[in-house]
């Protein structure tokens, strides 16, 4: 059975002046998979991710996200994806419920759906009693879980997570991955970057970027076998040490 592709990237090139940030990237991402997008600082991950989100135009290459063309249909792409960055942008001086309703509105949910979603998210996250708390007063772990729930409030096809788990305690970090697994099991495609190499092993497939190129792309198990490594950290060190574009 042919698997459905939600991201198709062919020969993506992005230049800033003379600097080639993305050098002929080619890869596909399938529906419902957890796709780990790894690379050293400066390898070109953020550049590629911004292009896939419709926030920046490629210099050349063919790219489709959810079937939409990145050159001509970037607004449609933006509506069909969710995005959460490490510096997630919740409004600290609004309550938990207000944040959910606000983002629901931004993503075009109907008023009645927004109220329904608000209830459902609070219950799913196990935080109904925090409904009227200001987001600024929540511990970091809760903010991260809330930011993730909000990033998928409009049931997007794909959610992009840019280093979502930085700094939290080991239990919260694992609870966060439970949310990711659960979203993936509902068919939402997860595109995630991380510096935790154990998290790379939670992904279905992992790509590793070095100097603007995809140097390796496979399941963690195959990568570890190919590079005769005991874990993804060794695979990463092996590949990323070759990098020339050190930040």
């Amino acid at each position: 059975m042919e698997r459905e592709k939600v991201i198709e990237v062919k020969d993506l090139v992005k230049k800033f002046g003379d600097f080639v940030a993305n050098d002929h990237l080619t890869f596909d991402v399938y529906k419902g998979e957890i796709f780990g997008f790894l690379g050293a600082n400066g390898a070109g991950k953020t550049t590629a991710m911004r292009i896939l989100c419709g926030l920046s135009m490629p210099t050349e290459g063919k790219l489709k996200v959810n079937g939409f063309d990145v050159y001509r249909q970037s607004e449609k792409i933006k509506k069909s994806i969710g995005y959460m960055s490490q510096k997630f942008s919740l409004y600290e001086d609004m309550t938990v419920a207000e944040n959910i309703r606000f983002y629901g509105g931004i993503y075009g949910l109907k008023r009645s759906d927004r109220i329904k979603k608000q209830q459902q998210l609070l219950n799913d996250l196990g935080m109904p009693e925090m409904k009227d708390k200001l987001v600024g007063s929540l511990p970091l772990g809760w903010k991260q879980k809330l930011a993730f729930a909000i990033a998928i409030v409009h049931d997007p096809q794909i959610v992009f997570l840019d280093e979502p788990t930085g700094g939290v305690d080991p239990i919260t970090r694992r609870q966060f991955w439970n949310l990711i697994y659960e979203a993936a099991s509902r068919g939402i495609t997860i595109f995630v970057t991380t510096h935790y190499m154990d998290e790379a092993e939670y992904c279905d497939r992992v790509s590793i970027m070095v100097d603007g190129r995809v140097e390796a792309l496979d399941t963690p198990a195959n990568l570890m076998a190919n590079y005769q490594a005991a874990n993804m950290n060794e695979v990463f060190l092996h590949l990323a040490r070759k990098a020339k574009n050190v930040e």
Binding site: A40, P170, A200
Partner: protein
């Protein structure tokens, strides 16, 4: 070298540090390991005279940090978690500024920073605000070292940094230690504990454990089962819902499973998982690592509260 005695600090209702005491030996590489909000930054800011404790005292080389803050500032080099150099000054101007504030020159202690600084020297005329994250970090470390401090205090220098750069950074700390500098460093990455001589695991303002990292694992770790199957998410939920499970957490490709009945062995785990339809099962004995221990201690602390 460093003595911390019964330090407490609250921000409103939040107890950031709760009666913390420990010492760091001269020339030790000491790690404060814990997540955001554990109290690491507050403690480090007190050591470098930027924050006053509510109660308790701190000493560096026998000097009380609060009373002798001027002397202390000459003795410590501090790299804060947030980039705090002058964005409008160039790389070289920043370094010159820090050298002159401390009454020294770049040339005098260049050997200390050479390793790090030569990587950013090609960009020395660039404004600090225009540097990438990795370069800012190297500049900040150079500025913290330029007056040859006795004690180097680093607040989460490797947060958001990739695995290769993290390893290089720790190699560099190892070399600075050989120069005789005492280093106290905080990090949320548990795996970095093994690079320290001793560590304090810290969570919600309390020290969970303090010792050499291998000793912590030896004394507070335990046997566990490492389990793997084709469907990780199902494996996780099935084991979480099993009566015999005490704890189950993902650790990379394996789940770490502990059981609440020690008479249960591999055979029972296997039978249960086969009955739940799992395929390509791997079940092997293992031992805690530092992150398992942290999780155990965290759960214990929670249960106590």
């Amino acid at each position: 070298m460093i003595k911390i005695n019964n330090i407490s600090k609250s921000y409103g209702d939040v107890k950031a540090l709760d009666d913390i005491s420990f010492s760091v030996q001269k020339n030790e590489l000491f790690g404060l390991i814990g997540p955001d909000g554990a109290g690491k930054s507050s403690l480090l800011r007190m050591l470098v005279t930027l924050l006053l404790p509510d109660s308790g005292s701190l000493e560096i080389s026998g000097l009380d940090v609060v009373r002798n803050y001027r002397k202390i500032r000459l003795m410590v080099g501090y790299m804060p978690g947030r980039f705090s150099l002058y964005q409008d000054l160039t790389v070289e101007e920043n370094l010159q500024f820090f050298a002159s504030v401390f009454g020294t020159t770049i040339a005098e202690n260049y050997h200390l920073i050479e390793d790090i600084y030569k990587q950013i020297e090609p960009f020395k005329t660039r404004r600090a605000g225009k540097l990438s994250g990795g370069m800012k970090q190297k500049l900040a470390l150079s500025c913290a070292l330029i007056h040859k401090p006795d004690v180097l205090v680093l607040d989460e220098p490797t947060t958001g940094v990739d695995a290769v750069s993290r390893r290089e950074f720790w190699d560099m700390l190892g070399r600075l230690k050989k120069e005789g500098i005492t280093i106290i460093v905080s990090t949320p990455y548990m795996d970095e504990a093994s690079r320290c001589d001793r560590v304090a695991l810290i969570q919600q303002g309390k020290i969970l454990s303090i010792d050499r990292p291998e000793k912590i694992v030896q004394t507070q770790g335990h046997q566990l089962w490492k389990v793997k199957s084709e469907n990780v998410y199902k494996l996780l939920t099935d084991l979480e819902n099993w009566d015999c499970s005490k704890s189950v957490y993902p650790f990379g490709q394996f789940l770490h499973l502990t059981l609440n009945d020690l008479t249960i062995g591999k055979k029972e785990v296997e039978e249960y998982l086969l009955s739940r339809g799992h395929q390509s099962l791997i079940i092997e004995p293992g031992f805690s690592d530092i992150e398992d221990v942290f999780i155990d201690l965290m759960s214990l602390q929670k249960a106590k509260n």
